[in-house]
Symmetry: C2
Subunit: 199 residues, 2 copies
């Protein structure tokens, strides 16, 4: 059996990915328990046996810590997906999310929607750390599709890829009163996004 | 000049459309001023010089009164629209909403989103009195389109017409941080909905 790789040297400005994942998990746990307004950096420090100084050094403050935790936990991820077709990439993105997790996340997001209205800092952090990187990932999928000639560069629907994906997510609870699961998103991709792109 | 038509006889169970419109406008005014939780039937009765008994007789309670007021004021309306094409119907629907009004409505809806989480009765009333009738109107547009042969009856996107329209609305603030206005909705209809339906 090969020897374990040496642990990365702990630097003042970097946590190990494992430690970071632990911290993020604890943040989401506390968020589910008490909501954004009642979540304190003290509670995160206590739950994770870390110092508040570490938390503030690593993240600017509570909005950034929460937004980073959500990004770490994000239900849709495009990182490392490159199946060779747009349809394959989108399906891979929605199929990796399991139903229990998505329902848990949906509850979390509903709580956060409420908090966003009274916390402009949280709103800004969510945009910068969660929504914009996701949109950039989606953009990369479609730049590749255009580059390989799968989608014509002047397809009007290319301007609305983020709107279609996010719209699919948020509209299902409104229209059908149930969360957007992988089965629904798969049907939506085939019925709406694929034909809108002329594929 | 022709004589004015006789006023409809006031019946215990019916308000005139004008009186109803006045009441709804007052409800929205109060809603914008104080929010859902602080809105009381007493305040509505005082502002509109009506009795609480009338309000309760006409609407079951506060959630139903608020949902009916929103429906009366709805930014998208399909009633009486029948231009002969799907594209024409959808464009007519979004073009009749002016920008100021939509921004005012967007602020109202954000406030209500918050209230929905803690008021299941409001949630139910909004579904029954606002969302479902709108979806039924949209459905009628597409039933006509299928009947006249404009859209094939087995087009998969027909199952997602409500999701596409509502998704266009709610996703723009998330993706672009600005409200969905008529110009944007017009582009979305042409870029996404029209090609998704194979038109």
């Amino acid at each position: 059996m090969p020897a374990e790789p040496p642990k990365p040297t702990a630097r003042r400005t970097r946590l190990t990915p494992e430690r970071e994942a632990e911290l993020y998990e604890a943040v989401l746990e506390i968020l589910r328990e008490v909501g954004y307004d009642a979540l304190t950096m003290d509670a995160v420090a206590a739950r994770t046996h870390s110092s508040k100084a570490t938390l503030y050094r690593q993240w600017k403050g509570k909005p950034e810590l929460v937004a980073s935790a959500l990004r770490h936990n994000k239900p849709l991820s495009l990182a490392d997906i490159d199946t060779g077709t747009v349809r394959g990439d989108l399906q891979a993105m929605v199929c990796r999310s399991d139903k229990d997790r998505m329902e848990k996340d949906a509850a979390l997001m509903r709580g956060l929607q409420r908090a966003i209205h009274s916390n402009p800092d949280l709103h800004r952090a969510l945009r910068e750390l969660l929504i914009e990187p996701e949109l950039a990932g989606l953009d990369a999928v479609f730049r590749r599709a255009v580059a390989r000639g799968e989608v014509a560069a002047d397809t009007p629907a290319l301007d609305f890829v983020g709107h279609m994906m996010l719209g699919a997510f948020v509209s299902r609870p409104l229209v059908e009163d149930r969360p957007a699961d992988a089965e629904y998103l798969t049907r939506y991709i085939d019925a709406v996004i694929v034909p809108a792109l002329g594929l």
